[in-house]
Amino acid sequence: MTTELGMPLRSPDAHGTAGINSLTGTAGVPRLGDDVTLTKRDFTSDQEVRWCPGCGDYVILAAVQGFLPELGLKRENIVFVSGIGCSSRFPYYLDTYGMHSIHGRAPAIATGLASTRPDLSVWVITGDGDALSIGGNHLIHALRRNVNLKILLFNNEIYGLTKGQYSPTSHVGQVTKSSPLGSVDRPFNPVSLALGAEATFVARTMDSDRQHLTGVLRAAAEHRGSALVEIYQNCPIFNDGVFDVLKDRTEAAARILHLVDGEQVGAGENVVVRDDRGLLSFVPRAEADPTRIVVHDPGADDPSAAFALSRLDSPDLGHVPMGVFRDVQRPTYDDGLREQIAASRTGTVTDADIDALLAGRDTWTVGA
């Protein structure tokens, strides 16, 4: 089975090590009864969607609304928290609980929510400016803590809401309102950044490929811990067409490196090989030493292999790995915090317990 872009789809049960030996991402979240199913409509709010015509955010919204019923969770136990940006308007359009917060802070806010409410499925919606510029610190810390959050980063390589300034993912030389002579900033690669923070789940997908996007969302939802999903998103107003080459079937076939667990990594006639120093390069399949061809292993303990794959990106989109880079099981921050509390507790806290706490160890009594 392949998706619209010709990306092979993984079967839902083949996501690295997630779910094999431990909880899934939605364990503890109340599920719908067997006789109840929700539909896309149930997740559509009554608010008028106000993105520009043709904005990639529409298709992502449709994909998410279409995907959520599949989770089988009670709608009231799903929460979307966003920052600020065009993309961050997303929660208003979903009929779940939601918070449109402040610029860059959604991962921090969602961390407090997820830590105190194991019965919620918590999603973060953020943009390239929101997540990587003003909120960069919160993003890397949420990832390193491995809070059970699903973070969807809409990367349009531009500041949309503020009308077209370059962003931390804009390429060097990009001409925007605030870089009339071309940007001299070097961009972040969001996947490399997330892997550098040792994120336990990192994936990349694209707005226009609904099936691939849905497949990645499914894998992310199943992952317990932080999941960072970078979604290439077209902004037709301020940065139109930056990902177009990946949407053309022939171009895509030559450029997209499909990351599929257990399969060789390659695009078109080329495969990726690893040399003695661990460096990756492309060689024609026919010339490749079969023992050196990289076989994708998202469950690898060490993030280095996934990181090396993420470095195969090139600014001209000559090679773009897509799919799940990393998917490993690690203890999560929120589970750990709750376990410490549970292990310390000796039952319901009574007034007498609080009285004893207030008294401490050194008290004295003054008679009447």
């Binding site: 609980y97 921090a108 009285d355």
Partner: protein, 632 residues
């Protein structure tokens, strides 16, 4: 052994001073515990450098702990010590100017080496040049006698033995003021449970110090301070930071909410994080965030989910939290923000006290962004103020800023333990049902439909079926909470948010005035940690026949409803503050009363003697011209 004289005293102020590494804070703490158990009323003031270990033996490295205890009620740690324990030349030099002539100095002569003297600029030892003639000096070779007492501990190095000198000093002072040492022995036993030789050495040094006092010729008199008459009840000694922590836990318990603290370490607030981190067994969750913004963000996220979200910080951190507090104003969710103020601006004086964040708390956000602001007046009041902050936050669904400060945070006093079951009932009810109908008559949930009394909106937490809704920082339409850019709606919502905060005044106690003769013409009005020094000053002034009224604000926003009336009832109103007149500015603006500011920003609490002079001068000149703005 000679039988020594025992003399009765009604009050004593002792200051322990030494190098940061000398353990003066611990010595002071232990002496305080012994004193509390004896039933004296007391108040303490630790004073330490921002550097963990400034160069040894230097003036910046001096750390001190002052304790005032008495057979009557005590309001401050005392203006000036009666006794200074100086562990080295730096400690002597740094503290001598605070010491009135005639006071006692117990000095560790072992540290008065040429090298140590020159570190602080003494060319001749002040012990030898007669410069200390106006004080009672007890030169004691504290270090060498302590080391000698440990001669049997052959396995300990000289350095380790020297470290016990603070316990020797504590033993000596305990003898001098007839304090029991059992509490300290028990404390040491639990502290060094797994280091038996260190434990024995400390116990030996402590007892040696006590015995030294009893046997040495140098101390011919010991003192007793009788217990103070205090209300019947069970007491403990408590610092402001511990009281605040306990208040948050007790209030969350009373509210029936899990407590979530998101915090980033900063002096002098970190102890609250430390204390709460150790209370997991009461269901308290603490998160050490990556920065202050994340700390308050996580707290707000927890509040959105139905927990009591709390964040603790100091002035620089409050600045970073401003945008998120503004979001909480807009979301109308409970949030408690504790600012343990310190000297500013910028990094300022991290370990010193100040009250200069009042205007930041009230106005330090973009837009019309009203929040409730409360301030504790004493260390133990930090408990009550925490409960009050939680009451306001949960009842009115609003951020509440608590303005404590370094003086209250680290200072301590006896605290009569409250009964948990008698704390205010602040049980919270979450929304469970739709509260409106749509155009077709179907039930819907309006997240911004307000309670008519409090103007609070419903708290509908995720997981509640049928109440799914979105909130955010964009202006919301009244009632529905949908995004709205409508001019009239924004005007209406801005006024509603303000009215909600103003309405809190309906549920707070009126400002009460202490005016024993009932005909005072001058009022001294303070807020926050200046309570003790002001009350002590008022006591001094009244003792000399001066008629003065005193009132103290614990609510800074909104003010108690009768505040204007109180201000207008006096000829003159003096407002002492540890800033350049922030409360005075608010009172003048709001009530058009020409209050007079008396300010000091030395990083230290007011001296009550100095305030008493200000009060006396004001009262004497009441019919004459008003005080000029005065500063110290």
């Amino acid at each position: 052994m000679s039988t020594k004289l025992v003399q009765q005293l009604d009050r004593v102020v002792i200051r322990f001073a030494g190098d940061s590494g000398d353990g003066m804070q611990l010595t002071g703490d232990r002496f305080t515990s012994e004193t509390a158990l004896l039933g004296n009323d007391l108040s303490t003031l630790p004073n330490f450098p921002a550097e963990i270990r400034a160069p040894q033996g230097t003036l910046p490295g001096v750390s001190s702990f002052q304790l005032h205890f008495a057979d009557h009620s005590v309001l401050t740690p005392g203006d000036a010590p009666d006794v200074l324990v100086a562990m080295n030349p730096a400690a002597l030099k740094a503290n001598l100017s605070d010491l009135p002539r005639g006071a006692t100095i117990i000095v560790n002569t072992d540290e008065f080496s040429k090298r140590n003297l020159s570190k602080v600029g003494y060319t001749i030892s002040p012990l030898d040049d007669g410069s200390l003639e106006s004080w009672h000096v007890h030169p004691v070779a504290l270090t060498s006698i302590a080391v000698e007492s440990l001669a049997a501990f052959t396995e300990l190095s000289r350095k380790e033995k020297e470290r016990a000198k603070n316990m020797f000093a504590l033993g000596l002072l305990s003898w001098l003021y007839t304090r029991p040492t059992d509490g300290t022995e028990a404390f040491l036993k639990s502290k060094f449970a797994d280091k038996p030789d260190i434990l024995e050495a400390n116990l030996t040094a402590l007892r040696a110090g006590f015995n030294y006092g009893e046997t040495t010729e140098d101390f011919s008199v010991s003192y007793e301070v009788a217990p103070a008459t205090m209300d019947a009840g069970t007491y403990r000694n408590v610092t402001g930071n511990v009281a605040l922590s306990l208040g948050l836990v007790a209030a969350a318990h009373r509210a029936g909410l899990p407590l979530f603290l998101g915090s980033y370490p900063i002096t002098p607030a970190s102890d609250i994080l430390h204390t709460l981190a150790g209370l997991k067994r009461y269901g308290v969750a603490t998160m050490q965030a990556e920065d202050e913004i994340a700390g308050v963000g996580a707290a707000l996220g927890a509040s959105f989910g139905g927990a009591l979200g709390v964040t603790t910080t100091s002035g620089p951190g409050l600045a970073l939290k401003a945008e998120t507090i503004g979001l909480a104003v807009s979301l109308e969710l409970p949030l408690v923000v504790c600012d343990i103020q310190r000297g500013g601006p910028s990094t300022g004086l991290p370990t010193k006290t100040e009250q200069a964040d009042l205007l930041q708390a009230l106005f330090g956000r973009n837009g019309e962004s009203p929040v409730a602001v409360v301030a504790p007046s004493t260390p133990s009041d930090c408990f009550d103020i925490a409960v009050e902050a939680v009451r306001i936050a949960t009842t009115y669904r609003t951020p509440v800023i608590v303005l404590s400060d370094g003086y209250l945070a680290n200072g301590s006093e006896p605290w009569k333990l409250p009964k948990t079951s008698e704390l205010p009932d602040i049980t919270v009810e979450f929304a469970t049902e739709p509260n409106g109908v749509d155009a077709k008559g179907a039930p819907v949930f309006h997240p911004y439909l307000r309670d008519p009394d409090t103007l609070a909106r419903p708290w509908a937490i995720p997981g509640t079926p049928g109440l799914e809704h979105r909130v955010g920082g964009i202006e919301k339409a009244d009632i529905t909470g949908n995004i709205s850019y409508d001019p009239d709606n924004h005007d209406h919502m801005t006024r509603l948010r303000q009215a909600k905060i103003d309405g809190i005044a309906d549920t707070i106690a009126p400002l009460s005035v202490d005016d024993p003769t009932g005909d005072a013409e001058v009022l001294v009005l303070g807020w926050g940690s200046t309570y003790g020094p002001i009350a002590a000053a008022v006591r001094v002034a009244r003792a000399s026949g001066v008629k003065v009224a005193q009132a103290h604000l614990r609510h800074l926003n909104p003010f108690p409803a009768n505040t204007g009336e109180v201000l207008r009832a006096y000829e003159r109103v003096i407002v002492p503050e540890m800033n350049l007149g922030q409360l005075a500015m608010l009172l003048r603006a709001k009530y058009l009363v020409d209050v007079e500011s008396h300010t000091s920003v030395r990083g230290l609490p007011f001296q009550s003697g100095e305030l008493a002079d200000v009060i006396t001068a004001a009262v004497t000149s009441v019919s004459n011209e008003p005080l000029k703005e005065s500063a110290t």
